[in-house]
Symmetry: C2
Subunit: 184 residues, 2 copies
């Protein structure tokens, strides 16, 4: 009875530990838990957790792609339609990394970024800057929801463009923004 509990707890803790620091060898883990290396290996097997190198590779790959698309972002979301100087549509699914842990509500930054990059994508110029914007977040967006953003060019005045962006989850408006962007 006691040992059963010990095992369960160890395994739970183990998976948490590895979730939040995947770069630990079985040997280090064994020391940390005061058990043998074999026990750790058995635990990993039971839970289907791969070895250190595999974990490292997975993290590296995942994030390598993500960094390319998100941090180095020219664009946030996935572009669905684009007619330059007319309208554009993109979709973005709210992922775990976008929400606050407690509330599961998507951070406004992402919603803004999706809209802002979409607005900029609409303009066909090498350098496009956001000049000003008015935003309204109409309701919180939760984990796993898909935000479809539609940007429409409303007015053009020399190198200044007024773009209206509406973001929806299903039929429901979650965000509207008016962006003035400037081409250089």
């Amino acid at each position: 009875m006691v040992r059963r509990l010990e095992k369960e707890n160890r395994q739970k803790e183990l998976s948490h530990l590895l979730a939040d620091n995947p770069f630990t060898t079985d040997e280090q883990l064994a020391k940390k838990f005061g058990v043998s290396v074999q026990t750790i290996r058995l635990d990993r097997m039971e839970m289907g957790i791969p070895e250190l190198r595999e974990r490292t590779k997975q993290v590296a790959r995942q994030v390598y792609d993500k960094v390319r698309s998100m941090l180095n972002h020219e664009f946030v979301g996935e572009l669905l339609e684009l007619k330059l100087e007319d309208y554009a549509v993109s979709v973005m699914e709210v992922g775990q990394e976008m929400v606050a842990e407690k509330s599961q509500v998507c951070n406004g930054d992402y919603i803004f970024s999706q809209a802002n990059t979409l607005a900029i994508a609409l303009i066909n110029a090498d350098v496009v800057l956001t000049g000003s914007a008015r935003l309204r977040f109409r309701r919180p967006v939760y984990l796993k929801e898909k935000i479809v953003s539609r940007a429409v060019l409303a007015r053009k005045k020399s190198n200044k463009y007024l773009i209206k962006v509406v973001s929806k989850v299903g039929a429901e408006e979650v965000f509207v923004g008016k962006f003035v962007v400037v081409a250089r």
Copy 2:
């Protein structure tokens, strides 16, 4: 003469290849270049490029940290001062990953995120959402510039807060925003 050139070219190509896809074994590389594994190893040694596992680990670690601080961001920038429901100051240096390659101009998303997260940090509640905002980007911000953002609570009306954020590079205003945030 010919072989010298071959070597130089191979090494150049090698480093490019690995820069843009670090997950290749020496054996795969050897096949790709039509040389022996040893030659690839020698090339790596000469150029100080570590082995596959080390490269993978580096990518994973780098990006792991970055993801934690940026993608998983509760906060963008570095918090300098905070007096809840009064004012807050943060600073952010514009990094390579924030700028458009051509123009070296910082993407507005980051400037917004710094301001938005700062505004939210000002409010002491579990769930704080951005309700609406008016933004003005006054001038482009370039690589390596340090943006100091100052958020001040202007008005409070039950659970709604009006916050004014001013971001400066040196003495120059680069962004101003008025945020209405809602606590739940």
